[in-house]
Amino acid sequence: MPVTIRVLTEELRDIWHSWTGGQLYIIDQAHIFPNAAGIPAEILAESNEEDLYQTPKLGKDLWWKLRVRPGWSLIASAEDDTPYKRVLPSWAALLRMVLEQEATGVGEMVDGSILKRMITTMCTAQDVRSGLQAAQAVIQQACTGADVLLIAEHSGELLLLGQGTFSEKEARACLKHGIEASSDLKSSTHSIEPFVLRLDVPSPSRVAVVVQVCDSDGDVKEARLMELCRLLGLMLKPFFSLEVDEQQQRLTHDLALAAAIQSSLFPDTMPIIQGYDLAADLLPARQVGGDFFDVCISGDGRYVLAVGDVAGKGASASILTAVVHAVLHSESPRHKDPASLLETINAGLYPDLDRAETFVTMTVAFLNPDEHQLEYASAGHVDGMLWKAREETLSMLPATGLPLGIYPSSTYAASKAVLEPGDVLGLYTDGITEAEGLNDKLLGVQGLADLLFACHLAPARAQLDVVLTALEVHRRDKLQRDDVALLLCRCLDVENDPRWVKPFVVAAHPTSVHTIVNLVRDLAMEAEGVLEVECPEVFEDFALALAEVIANQIKHAYQQEGGRIQGRLVLDKNTLSADTFDYGSSFQPVVPLGDLDPEDPPEGGYGMQLIDALTDRWAYTAMPGGRNHWSLQKRITGVRCS
């Protein structure tokens, strides 16, 4: 559906001002329909006069207010579950349409004279009720479907006439809230009796609210108007944020802008490097953070992969990430080795960091994709990880110098490594390894290493998603306390990489069994067109066998107490296999003998029997460090691996 817009003219603002004497906005309400096609971000950038912020939530709708420029505003509603990212560009487009319409005079506009007539009608009527009826007639006559909210004062009666998508209940609640909050009025002799009238006007639902304010002798005094205005402001507050919250909102708004700017500093897509697969992500604990990742090009044409952490969190740290970003991008092209790059960056940043009494840790890795060479230097950053696929070992890339900002001149060493097919480089921040779980247990370097071990065959993005999900599982209900950045770079193994790899991580909870069954079914569907032989049964059999293993891990390894299960599902040339790991108690797998007394069948123990019967090979290993490893394999014929 198209976006509907009605614009109220400046004329109404003048009428408004003459009635209230206060500084109120002219409001138009418009419905936003999510634009599935998406609206280019540059529209948002063009609309730089806007002042965008979210108003309090009302009912099931999200209300948005946009002050286009001083004097008038727009309000729009969107469904509660409309993603923020979608509403924002829709708003930008809407804004542009409004501005264009106003400029050209094209489009449906609500005539200011109609509104003027309405108000006049209402205020010359005998009483509020007949005033409303008269106003209703005017609206019906000019029925443009505009969403408007009118407020008028007549003979001591305050009148709100609104048409919009807000419900009667919301209007009533809003009204009560305003009156209760106005202690001045409460203590006065005025009797305040709110009631709500529902007008029978064609769609959409239109609501009129009437408040009667009378004092004992029925007189209306000059001073009363001011009180009314104040009451009005309170009543309207939930709908339109007035000056009261302006400062807070400005801060929130500024922070949102800062978050948008900060995320625009980091690459939103990773470069496509022949023979490599890269992915990176950043999750600040608050809106903005001090962790960062970056990719640029060095003076000798190598890719510079950087991950770092400005000490501290939130806005103060985020400002410095912008400085680091700028220096990194300006210095990288002038350097041919990571050590001298860090030395220069340190010298450049030292005065700022010293003044701010903070420091930065950062790893920079220079990648030569043609020669599969990696050269890195690390300014006090947490150890990088390099998974060596052939040796099946993990080597660490420790710091080669002090953090940036400790001394005016620091020296750094550079270290080299070779990337072979299947190897995975992982650069990250301590928000991952120091994520706190149950009993404040940290995920740890080993925890991250185990995750990479479990899913190293998968595409970088899939691995990264597993790590981020694992953090959620590990934290359980705890809040994310530190920023998280992660960059993964996998050297492709064109000859040996399996056709499909689905890494997974789940909480050790009974519902996870089904998650894993669905993962196998997803794989079956993806593989469907590529299998030469139809064999859906193989996947169903395998799903059951894997479900038995997962259920075993939940029930026996973790004794129903919860934990983390991670692994991968692989479909290759002629094998369907799964590897899954847990940290629970070890297990003594026993397959019951193929014999059963029909008169006295056991009430359990069928799981191992199914695992054994439904796979070609299975193995259980209690690994060092309290980790358990299950692996399942089933031969499958006719997989085309082109």
């Binding site: 009974p510 519902t511 069994v513 089904h514 069954v517 049964e537 169903e540 059999d541 799903a543 059951l544 479900a547 038995e548 259920a551 939940i554 029930k555 193929g594 014999d595 059963l596 029909p598 069948p601 056991p602 009430e603 359990g604 123990g605 069928y606 799981g607 029997q609 199914l610 019967a613 439904l614």
Partner: protein, 116 residues
Amino acid sequence: MNIDVKHLEEGKAVVTIEGRVDAETAAEVKTRLKDLAQYRVMQAFVDMNRVDFIDSSGLSAMVSGLKALRQHGGTLILCGPEPQALKALRLTLLDRVFPIYSTLDEALEQASKHAR
């Protein structure tokens, strides 16, 4: 998973299960089946036609139900299992333990024939 119990005449009951019977849902199935013993149900017909997935915990629940009914001479009859369930029953040899019919109607018909 949905489970529904309907008591018929002459100590018969039809238990209709829909969805998946796995580690998450087996406990409820087990409780509901064992409850049948309290009503002295002699023949419990479990309609499995709409069970799309069953694992070992689901099979164990069926066995527990059967054993509870057997205490007073009753039995548990599996009706209309899908290929996935049938295979699981076969591999665990439980197909030798439960009477299995391809449809609920067939199972009910057979039962009334025997009664005559």
